[in-house]
């Protein structure tokens, strides 16, 4: 079915009822071919604009319904726990591995530049600062968008295609409450937790590589880290990861719910869930970082920072 008008998945009334889709075809005789092409071109841009507008509207309704359900009634433990296990426990190894390698790569990349300036002992500051502020949260979220997000979209997409979502509706179980809210909660709670794990493993990885490979004095490594990296940097990174977690869950569930029929549709839902989550993570990261810095400056203006 091309466009579903499902009450419970947050989609609005059929947007194309009034407008009609596709480029207008020129009538023979009364319009010249050039004019017809121009009209078709304008019409296709118009159709695209309407489509984008409808997508944003549908997504907002979907998010609104998710929040409305979450605030009125929390899901039962037996629906929440499997999702927490899927998102949290199963992601642990891959997130730990990601974190460790980010820390080590940061050490390799910064070491040579800092050595030229004779500042090797400051390596701890730069590694840990970039790690907790930026790379830990963003790369952990990216990893999870790939692991958790596309799996969610594929799973919900298959449920949509095989009418399992309709079956939930038909038995009086709201699919948003039953399927989306537990996944959203799992991502919202566990992606920041996994980010802490990625940060920790990154710190360990960077330390081991700097101290044992580049033979930097361990006392100065930690001393400089402690001098520059504060609680604000760490909590700023974790704060951002709440948004990343929420974005991954909502985008992926939305993509799964609005999956087109067939194997191709499910594949497309999984791919677009990752791509859209990734873009949203990067864009929101920029604005959240700017916002956090502005907030920090307003509170403690003028304090010395390495960045």
């Amino acid at each position: 079915m091309a466009a579903r008008n499902n009450r419970d998945d947050g989609s609005a009334d059929n947007p194309h009822d009034v407008v009609g889709s596709g480029p207008a075809e020129p009538r023979d005789g009364d319009i010249s071919a050039g004019n017809g092409m121009l009209r078709a071109w304008i019409a296709s841009w118009g159709a695209l604009a309407i489509d984008v507008f409808c997508q944003v509207g549908n997504m907002s309704l979907f998010v609104g319904r998710t929040f409305a359900w979450m605030l009125t009634r929390l899901p039962k433990a037996e629906t929440i726990l499997p999702n927490f296990y899927e998102v949290g426990v199963k992601s642990l190894p891959v997130v730990a591995l990601t974190g460790t390698f980010i820390g080590m790569v940061l050490a390799v990349q910064s070491y040579f530049q800092f050595r030229q300036m004779g500042l090797e002992s400051r390596l701890g500051a730069v590694i840990n600062m970039s790690l907790v502020r930026e790379l830990g949260p963003v790369l952990a979220a990216t990893m999870l968008a790939g692991r958790v997000g596309s799996a969610m979209a594929a799973q919900l997409g298959t449920m949509r295609v095989t009418e399992q979502i309709d079956a939930l509706d038909s038995m009086g179980a709201n699919p948003i409450y039953y399927l989306v809210v537990p996944r959203f909660l799992a991502c919202l709670v566990l992606i920041p937790t996994l980010t802490v794990m990625a940060d920790f493993m990154g710190v360990v990885g960077g330390y081991l590589f700097s101290v044992y490979r580049f033979e930097i004095d361990r006392h100065f490594y930690w001393y400089n880290s402690a001098q520059y990296v504060g609680a604000w940097d760490f909590f700023g990174g974790i704060f951002k990861s709440f948004f990343f977690g929420g974005a991954i869950a909502l985008v992926s569930c939305y993509r799964g719910f609005h999956c087109r029929p067939g194997a191709e549709g499910v594949g497309e839902a999984a791919t677009s869930a990752f791509v859209h989550s990734f873009v949203l993570i990067l864009v929101s990261d920029l604005f959240l970082s700017m916002g956090l810095d502005a907030f920090h400056d307003a509170l403690w203006s003028g304090s010395a920072k390495i960045f």
């Binding site: 079915m1 091309a2 466009a3 579903r4 008008n5 499902n6 009450r7 419970d8 009334d13 059929n14 194309h16 009822d17 009609g20 889709s21 596709g22 449920m159 095989t162 009418e163 399992q164 309709d166 079956a167 509706d169 038909s170 038995m171 009086g172 179980a173 709201n174």
Partner: protein
């Protein structure tokens, strides 16, 4: 007249000037039907004529572009989520491909409506699940199996057992015999007949299997695809008793009933040319 009599006199399902459209594709056009309580209505028509869409609109899964759907006098689209849920519990839907939750066992699937809407002990749930499965001819041992391990016919029967779990007043069957062997098709037909007699329910069956029509139907409604109709022709081309089908003078109906292609292949080729 008392309230109870008034309620009993209105049809269970009322469709008024129903219209459903996806993009520029008009699926249902100006359909007005009343489904009486306790009746078994079979909706027939070729693939793509909007039978499934009609069924999903009655359940409130698809929002009509125009017109109203009333269930027991209440207009579905004007109800809140909570009220709609209450009404849906009074209906059961048997899906074409059964639509069993593949992450759950058969037992969990059949128990799902009970766990959602009734407060029962595990022992009571189990007892009801086993009883319902026995009604559709499935042994207790299937309870622990996953849907993927069952054959198509078994899955359909599990779907039926699940739909009957809350004793619905209205059961909607979406092509119940499609893709089954002739014997299993007849088993399903038999189950539909038995269910409608025993539970005193209203049934709407959509199918293109004439065996099903002759076995279960009281009233038959035939829909015709809107793309093959002119602007002023009604989409319902037959509405009457099953016995009247053979005597019907409409060529579109006799063609379907006897399964004759006629000049259809030529028409299809002309359309694609």
């Amino acid at each position: 007249m008392s309230d109870a009599l008034v309620t009993a006199s209105i049809p269970l399902v009322q469709l008024q000037r129903l219209q459903v459209r996806f993009d520029s594709n008009q699926v249902l056009r100006d359909i007005s039907l009343d489904i009486e309580r306790g009746s078994t209505v079979v909706v027939i028509g070729e693939s793509g004529c909007g039978k499934t869409v009609l069924l999903k609109t009655i359940l409130g899964l698809i929002r009509p572009t125009r017109g109203t759907v009333k269930f027991d006098g209440r207009e579905l689209m004007k109800l809140s989520d909570r009220e709609l849920t209450e009404q849906r519990v009074r209906m059961g839907y048997v899906f074409q491909q059964a639509a069993l939750f593949d992450s759950m066992t058969i037992g969990q699937n059949v128990a799902f409506p009970l766990r959602q809407h009734r407060r029962l002990s595990e022992a009571e749930i189990r007892e009801q699940v086993v009883r319902r499965l026995a009604d559709v001819g499935l042994p207790e041992s299937v309870v622990y199996r996953k849907p993927a391990e069952l054959s198509g016919g078994m899955r359909k029967r599990v779907g039926l057992a699940r739909a009957l779990m809350l004793n619905p007043e209205l059961i909607l069957y979406d092509e119940p015999t499609t893709g089954l062997d002739p014997i299993m098709s007849d088993v399903i037909n038999e189950l539909i007949v038995q269910t409608s007699q025993r539970e005193d329910v209203t049934s709407i069956v959509i199918t293109h299997d004439m065996h099903t029509v002759r076995k279960v139907a009281g009233r038959v409604i035939m829909l015709y695809p809107t793309s093959r109709l002119s602007a002023d022709e009604p989409q319902v081309v037959y509405d009457g008793l099953v016995s009247g089908l053979d005597a019907c003078g409409d060529r579109r109906v006799t063609q379907f009933v006897h399964g004759e292609a006629g000049e259809r292949l030529m028409e299809l080729r002309r359309e694609t040319a």
